[in-house]
Symmetry: C2
């Protein structure tokens, strides 16, 4: 499907694809990303021929992109800043930092640590453009939810979510059984959402969730430049540093440079229009 | 004791002292630091009147400085970059970032995220100046030890160490009983060290332990400037950023500015001489 209808970027989670799959995507001009949560996984990503590696810190919301689910290593997840520095020394492809980033100062920080770009998820979850459930959006900054945890309760694979009743009750004994557990709990989660019960839903969230705001993505994005502790001195307006050639690599692939819209204001407007048209 | 023989800095772990204790230390010119692992703890540190808060990320080696040991919140430890940004927005006193920092680029990173200084522990553990056991020093970069974990196995309070036999066998059921467990396991750990068995010792280590080097602290320190991804552009030679007045605060206290020796080369030489004289 992706060979017949090429897209600018394909990002793999839960492991690296084979070299053949990466080559096939490259032939149609697609830029290939793969998540890594350890330096060893980053080496596997480089060997597979990916264009860049997404270094996902333990702070990240949702599923950890570990290449195998090994319960024995639960509790050994690497913090983003430690991970970026270690991956930077392990591979020579560009590193994209992900996990808990909510502010311009943190984007500046991962660039200083050696990343070529930052990837933000939870930061956009509460925006009007986000398709997340309204209860999920509200929960992110609701003081009732004070912390997050990695859990297998919802899907059978470690994922970070706000600690609610479902996570507290079923997390401690949930088995490593993905995606079976995901399918098993899916109707329960849907019923909880329908009943307006956030305590029974999977409230994926990164560790910085309390710093989320429900501003439109375009305005929110511009805020970061202002609230960076030292605005403009380190963090470029483009939101990335190209010294390791990330953008050049993407442009050479042929599908363009898609990692960030060139004009965030216009892109946000288009997203808002699309959301309004739905 | 600290009132009769004042020292430049006192740093508290495991909780904030009372306002009275902080005031007494201030009267003799001592600069007071307290560790925090959450924004709420940082607020308590500021209320106690401390001069600065040490933001300790979950990456840090040794004991987590949580103000209370609450097993229910195990697994909710905040990554350093997320913690620094959250504490920076929660308090107005200077923030010192600690946990997993091993390179100049990471120092630059925490400064960019809003910290006023960085505090490094494991980075110095393998240096000749460090008093750590030789087996402990070797274990830090021994490929047999691939990961760290927070455990109560050795002391009864969560502390990060290299995963070895003792941690694997006793970690899963170790109770929240500090310092009783510390005293209970102390003779076992000493016997293991005497027998040359690193598998029975507490091998405290931060998540960046594999990036440690056994260089003299002075040379090691100078390496960081070179191996910072963008040397000299963000990270000041002094290793800290004074825009939030950390140094000024310390100088006003009266005992001088002790957070970093002014001349690392000379200080390292003195340390080496002292080590040789022992």
């Amino acid at each position: 499907m992706l060979r017949d209808n090429p897209v600018p970027v394909v990002s793999f989670h839960f492991g690296a694809p084979s070299r053949e799959v990466v080559d096939a995507l490259h032939r149609v001009g697609t830029f290939v990303l793969v998540t890594a949560t350890t330096p060893d996984e980053a080496r596997a990503v480089e060997r597979a021929g990916a264009d860049a590696v997404v270094a996902q810190g333990v702070e990240a919301g949702g599923h950890q992109g570990t290449h195998r689910d090994v319960p024995e290593t639960d509790g050994s997840g690497l913090g983003l800043l430690s991970l970026v520095a270690q991956i930077r020394e392990a591979v020579s492809i560009p590193v994209i930092a992900a996990g808990g980033i909510m502010r311009g100062g943190q984007i500046a920080a991962v660039l200083a640590a050696g990343a070529s770009a930052a990837q933000l998820g939870t930061a956009f979850l509460a925006t009007p453009e986000s398709g997340a459930n309204a209860l999920h959006k509200q929960a992110l900054t609701n003081p009732l939810f004070v912390r997050t945890e990695l859990t297998r309760a919802f899907s059978g694979r470690p994922a970070r979510g706000l600690v609610n009743r479902f996570l507290r009750e079923h997390g401690p004994y949930a088995p490593a059984a993905y995606p079976e557990l995901h399918h098993l709990t899916s109707p329960l989660r849907k019923a909880a959402a329908k009943a307006g019960d956030a305590q029974g839903m999977a409230l994926w969230a990164g560790q910085g969730h309390r710093m989320a705001r429900d501003l439109p993505a375009g305005s929110w994005w511009r805020c970061w430049r202002v609230n960076s502790p030292r605005p403009g001195r380190r963090w470029r307006a483009e939101g990335f540093d190209d010294s390791s050639g990330l953008r050049g690599r993407a442009l050479r692939r042929g599908q363009g440079w898609p990692l960030r819209p060139r004009r965030p204001g216009r892109a946000a407007r288009r997203l808002r229009e699309a959301a309004a048209a739905r």
